[in-house]
């Protein structure tokens, strides 16, 4: 059995939806709510709940503005969120055989 430190894994990113949201924002730089919802294939309500958790943890920031009289929420990954993603990836890679984790 693999020697696995459960405590080292970020609880927040153990949800696949939140993990996908953070990775999507790492690639996009900045994205609106609809794009994040579509990319993670979730509903409005579900996406809202997960994004709120990431926001509360300081992993993402949200800026709200009105465009053509309609509200627009733009999300950005914070340095803390990016660091958490990199740490999470490092943990995952540590679980794989050395050659595979470098690919």
């Amino acid at each position: 059995m693999t020697d696995f430190d459960h405590g080292a894994i970020d609880e927040l990113l153990s949800s696949r939806v939140r993990l996908a949201m953070v990775a999507f924002l790492a690639g996009a730089g900045e994205a609106d709510f609809a794009a994040i919802r579509d990319a993670t294939k979730t509903t409005d309500g579900n996406a809202g709940v997960h994004l709120r958790k990431l926001e509360d943890a300081g992993y993402v920031t949200v800026s709200k503005q009105f465009v053509a009289r309609r509200p627009q929420s733009l999300y950005r990954l914070t340095d803390r969120g990016r660091e958490a993603l990199l740490t999470y990836v490092a943990h995952l890679e540590a679980l794989l055989p050395p050659k595979e984790s470098q690919s």
Partner: protein, 192 residues
């Protein structure tokens, strides 16, 4: 078991990063700029041919194309920051649109130089090509609604064949580029 989970998570992260970068590429201002420039070019040509603008269409189009490509090159100047690694999906999306831009520019310039543009084949040809580009982009950028834009371009292609030889093809083409190229670009930037 844990290895499998780790592999699945890494694959998920790679796919999401790809989608994010493709989204950022699709959300760029190129569609808006090119849509408005070409729309203005067609309206200008219409104004030239109806005597409302004292210009020849050739130099007008040269200016339109030069402005578009200068904007493209200036936006992609190498920055001081190290470039993030690019994923195949993002490269495919960028190359698709760059290839289409080069193809349409070459066809328009050479067609104009050889005097073939008056035959009325270019507008439906370009509309068909842009329809195909939007159809592929819908999948590459995970924006399924872009397929409807592709369908609208193909309807525009049929209409352009129907308007063959009619001067109304010029304002019609201007509307196509503003609505179906600048329009989706604007929606991508402004949607809630």
């Amino acid at each position: 078991m844990i290895d499998d989970q780790a592999r699945a998570d890494i694959a998920l992260i790679r796919a999401a990063l790809d989608q994010g970068r493709a989204y950022a590429t699709a959300r760029g201002p190129d569609m808006i700029v090119w849509g408005l420039l070409i729309g203005a070019g067609y309206l200008g040509t219409w104004a030239c041919l109806t005597g409302q603008l004292p210009l020849r269409p050739g130099p007008l189009w040269l200016g339109v194309l030069a402005l578009g490509w200068i904007f493209y090159v200036v936006r992609r100047r190498p920055s001081q920051e190290p470039a993030p690694p690019r994923r195949p999906l993002v490269i495919a999306l960028r190359m698709l649109w760059l290839g289409i831009g080069i193809c349409l520019t070459l066809t328009a310039v050479v067609g104009n130089y050889r005097g073939d543009m008056g035959a009325g084949w270019f507008e439906p040809f370009a509309a068909g090509i842009l329809g195909a580009a939007f159809f592929a982009s819908a999948t590459l950028s995970n924006l399924p609604w872009l397929r409807w834009v592709a369908a609208a371009w193909w309807v525009g292609e049929l209409a352009a064949f129907w308007l063959h030889g009619n001067i109304l093809i010029l304002p019609f083409s201007a509307a196509l580029y503003v609505l179906l190229l600048a329009g989706p670009g604007l929606v991508l930037r402004l949607r809630p």
